[in-house]
Subunit: 371 residues, 2 copies
Amino acid sequence: MSELRGRKILTTLQEDGQLVVELAEEKLPQPTGHEVVVRVDAAPINPSDLGLLFGPADMNTADYGEGRIVATMPDGARRAMAARVGQAMPVGNEGAGTVVAAGEAPEAQALLGKTVACVAGGMFAQYRTVDARSVIVLPDDATAEQGASAFVNPLTALGFVETMKRDGHSAIVHTAAASNLGQMLLRITQADGIPLVNIVRSPAQVALLKDMGAEHVLDSSSDDFRNDLVVALKATGATLAFDAIGGGKMVGQILHAMEQVASEGQDYSRYGSSSRKQAYIYGALDTGPTILNRSFGFSWSVGGWLLFPFLQSLDAKTLEGLRARVRDNLTTTFASHYQARISLDDALKRDAVMAYNARRTGEKYLLLPNG
Amino acid sequence: MSELRGRKILTTLQEDGQLVVELAEEKLPQPTGHEVVVRVDAAPINPSDLGLLFGPADMNTADYGEGRIVATMPDGARRAMAARVGQAMPVGNEGAGTVVAAGEAPEAQALLGKTVACVAGGMFAQYRTVDARSVIVLPDDATAEQGASAFVNPLTALGFVETMKRDGHSAIVHTAAASNLGQMLLRITQADGIPLVNIVRSPAQVALLKDMGAEHVLDSSSDDFRNDLVVALKATGATLAFDAIGGGKMVGQILHAMEQVASEGQDYSRYGSSSRKQAYIYGALDTGPTILNRSFGFSWSVGGWLLFPFLQSLDAKTLEGLRARVRDNLTTTFASHYQARISLDDALKRDAVMAYNARRTGEKYLLLPNG
């Protein structure tokens, strides 16, 4: 191939506590072996990308130059991020595009010209070298934009359902349920006949999910929320929750309501019911502390849930089954919706940063690195 | 047998929110089948008993009459305790005494005159009818006082070690480690060669455990606590904690320090280390909320731990092994120490209640119902 040059976004936390986010030029080496070079046509800006890109830096007071942002990282966060100081880190978990160069391995050569989705990291770039064996080849009629979010959200939503089965539960509670991920989970559980309690934060989000046919949609901003939650848990028998928020009292409220349902009609026990109540925190829309009032006995567990360790815990056959389900339902069950499409240059401008870094539920941005 | 009459402590939460704790007379029916009647000679007042006996009622402003206390239960607690309203509940998880009457079954008859320990509930009484098959027969030279705490603390401490093995950890962190339970856990781990990090709350408690030969004893009131914790976790490799406190930030601090140790020398990952960090909350010395800052990635879990469900999860052989170990080491590994001994009458007097309900670590009271 002729020499490939492209631009990519790098984020560096400097020794002095300044966070520098900038566009950098790179020259891509000729791919060898199983390597292929993907021209990245679309990459979603996920909450997990924002954590690496900006973290808790103050983007409101940052200095926005030409292709370069300089922001101040709070002291507490600097200590927690000591391990990244001085490293220029590429960003962007996933994306999709066209294979424009390939190593000599047959698996790599076979991908030339194909549209593929990958979860290689560093996808906020015009070109990205990845392993041919790690991509999903999109169906012939699918666009890169349709495949851009084929990994993180779809496999997370499917992972919730697999976790439910593995842990012996039969229904799911989900917070921030109007998100792209939440909508996917709703469609999956509708297809599989799994009861789902959707918790959202506004009447508009209630309407959105109800329009999609959701049965249990609760508005946590409503005065009736606590009662509605008990009613929905009773109807579904849910003893498992996945929480995207992290901070605040929501997880504790859900466990409390589960305990209320489990205790109904039972003899009093000062240790609480024997119903196993589990909540997994998989996001940090609220980075404040998780506050548990422990008004739910002793039979409970709260823990972190993360996609990649979960995928590693699956056997190869189960994992391939999940990937095939995503590929076969890319434009239906696993369709994503985007608030706006932006270029690499736009992504570093103040207006865009303030908008996509607000992490508003259901307002996901799509980066078009070659757009 | 001649007719047996005795007194026992009952606790009743009334409809009007008043908590009544009183002495009541009872006539015990002739035991039948496998039943035996135990004359209770000694019963420890454990934190778990206090939860049922008084809960969060205000014992400071209570009315102390002759053999009868009337206290006010806070509104929030009343709602949580709705299932016990109107029921006169016996108290006292465990205790020991002499079998004075027995049903016709050979297993019951064989116990006549023996000193036994039981975990039948309702042990704050002069007499208690229990199932002959559920008791531990104490060695001939053991007193009831030595066997009074043969169940809850010993099996809890042994249960921590079993849980450690089951969950794949190799060392333990323990809070409120100067308690009777903590001292037992120390002796068990010394015998078994398991690294233990003891967290206590005063220099005097540090001295107590150091005198017992403990290697890692940390004072959470010390300015150096955070650093000391990291050093001890590094030395022991502990990724499992058992916490008696419940409320506050301690559990989160422990997980944070575990994550610090796990991340050292690793590449930065915004998802945290892959080290599985587990904390079990088994007590509620602080009934306030558990506050988790989640500064420890996504590979963590916090949950409740309770003795009886844990015992039920064991196979019969393992359980009998644990009970035999307790019986064989009753006056050494599993010895308990008591701050004071009190009668049933004294137990309902203001001074005694204020003292034993303070739940100070290492200041356990022993009830002598026939003393």
